[in-house]
Symmetry: C2
Subunit: 210 residues, 2 copies
């Protein structure tokens, strides 16, 4: 089984690049085109495909449409993914308003908040009270949740939704959560990303001077 997160991220990037190429009218693609498009090497593109048993045509490259089918199937994009957002504050509501997920087959179907003032059942994407979350997860068979609550509430909220049946959490709170058994937690940590960027900017600047 593949455990290499970077490899799967590359598959997503290939997929996105392929859609762009397709939109530009391309029908087939070579490994080095894709490598250019995502900023990698042609070898790696072919190796990644090889791992998943994807093959192209000697001298003919890859057929974009069939390649996309295979990547989409690997990435689980052949079925709509229903997602909930926990915490309808700044980040949570930005995500709920974002249209970009739909073209990816990801649909945020509800938000949840502890603050009564945030509740809104008549929204296209309703914001519901936290008390209803457990039942909602079970009824709608929700497996993926986005966690956008304040840091202090994050662990507790994570525990709760794991217990209710959620299998994967995308956590925006800048702290490491202990995942319950059988629940995967991925983090989006903007602070750390910025810090990282600052570090590398500083070192390249320093080494450039030297």
């Amino acid at each position: 089984m593949i455990t290499n997160k970077n490899c799967i991220i590359r598959l997503s990037r290939y997929k996105n690049a392929l859609y762009r190429l397709q939109a530009l009218g391309f029908v087939k693609v070579f490994s080095d085109n894709l490598a250019d498009a995502v900023g990698g090497t042609a070898s790696q593109v072919r190796k990644d495909f090889s791992i998943f048993g994807i093959s192209g045509n000697k001298k003919g490259g890859y057929q974009i449409d069939s390649l996309l089918e295979k990547l989409n199937s690997i990435l689980g994009k052949d079925q709509l993914q229903k997602v909930i957002v926990v915490g309808a504050g700044h980040i949570g509501s930005a995500l709920m308003r974002y249209r970009g997920f739909e073209k990816e087959g990801i649909k945020i179907i509800a938000g949840f908040d502890i603050d009564p003032a945030k509740i809104n059942r008549s929204n296209p994407i309703p914001v519901l009270p936290l008390e209803e979350i457990k039942a909602f997860i079970k009824t709608n068979n929700i497996r993926i949740a986005i966690l956008a609550v304040p840091d202090i509430a994050a662990q507790q909220a994570a525990d709760m939704i794991c217990a209710a049946g959620v299998k994967g959490i995308l956590n925006f709170a800048p702290l490491g959560l202990k995942g319950a058994e059988g629940c995967i937690i991925n983090n989006v940590n903007v602070e750390i990303e910025l810090e990282n960027l600052i570090y590398f900017v500083n070192v390249t600047e320093k080494t450039r001077k030297a």
Copy 2:
């Protein structure tokens, strides 16, 4: 030179964990405490420190305050980092309102937008018209920018701010940007993070069944 992004991310995590330990009243820490706190191994903690010439005391562990000083210096946190936000839409304004960066010594000092309706000079963090961005970057010696414009505008905006002197971009648009020479681009791609999470949830589910 260190090129291992994960290693630097671990330093950030150590740093954050250390602040939490310090707030709890701890004065010294052992490598295995830190490992626990961030979900790693004690060996790796020591190795990471060793790479940067950080040393502790045999049998005495590490002095938290001096450790923090060293980590902060490595991570460039000994000086305030001024950052601008390009694109004051949903994500951009969520980031501008976010208080969490300050405690990290990161200060968003202005936003920029092409839409006149978004301009607001009297905000604590002003939103300025795009025409002023070049001069602003030069005057304020801005090195880091957060890019939160629509996908279609992202490459052009990146080119512009690179040309104006920005050295690092944290890009929220879900596409790979070509960085100008001497400008580092890091991406925060929520779609891909979700996709990744979905993939791993799917495969663990499948292998669990089998």
